[in-house]
Amino acid sequence: MKYSISSILMMLALSLQAVAQEQGHLNVTTTVQKQEVTVNDSGEAETRLVAADTVVPGESVVYTITFQNISDEPAANVVITNPISEDLTYVDGSAFGPGTVIQFSTDGGQNFAAADELTVVDDGVSRSAGADDFTHIRWVMQNELAVGAQGTARFTAVLK
């Protein structure tokens, strides 16, 4: 049976649309908060996360990504990729994610590597990449995400 080009394209479009609407296996949430440091009654500094309602340049915000397996099958090779806004500077060492390998990209998400393995070229001179150079962060889970299990990824950035 022959199909015309336009009908093939329409079928592709429809199947793609069907794909686009499908219920996924994970529920993914990203929240943004500010760190508030207070001194408690014992004179110790306590840090807690509060709503990021008032943010001015120079202040830091904390993004927390949670991903829960809401399906009845385990999820494998879970990779959380997060582009860093141009208005933010990643805080070195702040990326956190139990059971993950954390990698960064300096080229818009095409290549990822550990932070200390990345280099950039500045005026023809190659140097180690710094927090200012990162365009993306990603967390690569090392194990399966079991049914019902939830993973967490977090990082801190300063508003430029």
């Binding site: 592709l12 199947s15 793609l16 069907a18 794909v19 686009a20 609407q21 499908e22 219920q23 996924g24 296996h25 994970l26 529920n27 993914v28 949430t29 990203t30 929240t31 943004v32 709503a51 990021a52 309602d53 008032t54 943010v55 001015v56 340049p57 120079g58 915000v61 993004y63 990504i65 991903f67 809401i70 399906s71 099958e73 385990p74 999820a75 494998a76 090779n77 879970v78 990779v79 959380i80 990729t81 997060n82 582009p83 860093i84 806004s85 141009e86 208005d87 933010l88 998400g109 993306h136 995400l145 990824a153 508003l159 430029k160």
Partner: protein, 375 residues
């Protein structure tokens, strides 16, 4: 076993790493513009049973529908951080002023280092405290503040507030004042200029209109409203700078001494027949400025007779600085030597024909003689 619709080969695997949305402009050096929405979306890719799944975007409230566009960015609004400097820039420790001067200028510079365009309301006040080590000993009047919003030095026709100053913008502010004729050499008039940050609540540009002064509304954080945080010196939204006007003037001290230079019977008393020599001294030794266009007037008492031809041989009536120069006190100064004496006894030394200057640090004397007539 679930069948999973795999994306067809004609369409490459969609790796939607939804970009961080950037609304608003990026400010340089002063921080992200107030009103900018900073967005962040994470995307999770995964396999199930070795089959690659369609990645799922994050949502602030959680999203489990796979595919691009089904998540929502996690956002926050950049708020306004007020930061600016106000400094006095008159060029010297004080602004010199002469008594009677009109519209003398003390100048200031305001620089906006906030992450937003801002108005500033301005006010000036006399202060009684020291400025640049000078105690406040007098006041000027008729203060007028002007801001050079069009760039460059302000003029009297300009606004009296700073209008829509750009981030990193710099504006000159002038305080014009008048010096009463009564202020004295060596006095100082100290003033304080205060600039207060002002902006429309919604950060809407209102050129030509002064916005309301900003305040920090504590505790009412609203993620959808641009809030204000004071990051200036003192964290109070206003800055002050002081200036000192120094009165620079001549300081004339006038003295008149009468000396009997001859009298009948060898006496030294002012009796009929005696000649009195008057010495008038105009002393500017403590002045900081020259006294110019000095005119000395004296009323010769009708009971004495002004003596003519008593100096410079018998040529002149009045002697300057003990004979450095002379003049004749004629009616109407027809000889234009700068001295005149009319029928009513009005002696005038210094006029349009003779402009007398007593330089600062010097003094001038004139001398003339009168006769006490025999009755």
């Amino acid at each position: 076993m679930k069948t999973v619709k795999r994306s067809l080969g004609l369409i490459t695997r969609l790796s939607i790493l939804a970009s961080a949305l950037l609304l608003g402009q990026q400010a340089l050096a002063l921080g992200t513009d107030a009103g900018t929405t900073v967005s962040n979306t994470a995307t999770v890719a995964y396999d199930v049973a070795s089959v690659i799944q369609t990645p799922i975007e994050s949502d602030p409230a959680g999203n489990n529908v796979a595919g691009p566009g089904n998540g929502n960015p996690t956002e926050f609004l950049v708020d306004r951080r007020v930061s600016f400097t106000l400094i006095e820039t008159s060029g010297g420790p004080t602004t010199p002023v002469a008594p009677g001067d009109i519209s003398v200028v003390a100048s200031f510079t305001l620089t906006n280092t906030s992450n937003a365009i801002m108005d500033f309301s301005l006010s000036v006040a006399d202060i009684a405290t020291d400025v640049f080590g000078n105690g406040d000993t007098t006041n000027l009047v008729n203060y007028r503040i002007r801001a050079g919003n069009s760039g460059g030095a302000p003029v009297l026709g300009d606004d009296d507030f700073v209008d829509e100053l750009a981030e990193e913008g710099v504006v000159e502010i002038y305080v014009f004042a008048d010096a009463p004729i009564t202020v004295q050499n060596g006095e100082y008039a100290n003033i304080r200029l205060t600039a207060t940050a002002a902006d429309d609540v919604g950060a809407v540009a209102t050129p030509g209109v002064l916005d309301a002064d900003l305040s920090e509304v504590g505790g009412l954080d609203d993620p959808n409203v641009i809030e204000t945080v004071f990051g200036d010196a003192g964290n109070d939204g206003f800055e002050e700078a002081d200036a000192s006007y120094e009165i620079i003037s001549a300081a004339l001290e006038i003295t008149k001494i009468a000396t009997v230079i001859s009298a009948p019977f060898g006496s030294d008393k002012a009796i009929p027949g005696a000649i009195i020599e008057y010495t008038i001294t105009v002393d500017n030794t403590t002045g900081s400025s020259d006294a110019t266009n000095v005119a000395i007037t004296d009323l010769i008492d009708s009971n004495v007779t002004f003596q003519t031809g008593v100096y410079n041989g018998s040529a002149s009536d009045i002697s300057f600085d003990a004979g450095a120069s002379f003049c004749i006190a004629d009616v109407g100064d027809t000889d234009t030597d700068g001295c005149s004496l009319d029928g009513a006894g009005n002696l005038v030394v210094g006029n349009v024909n003779l402009s007398i200057t007593v330089a600062s640090g010097t003094s001038l004397t004139i001398q003339f003689q009168v006769l006490i007539p025999n009755l």
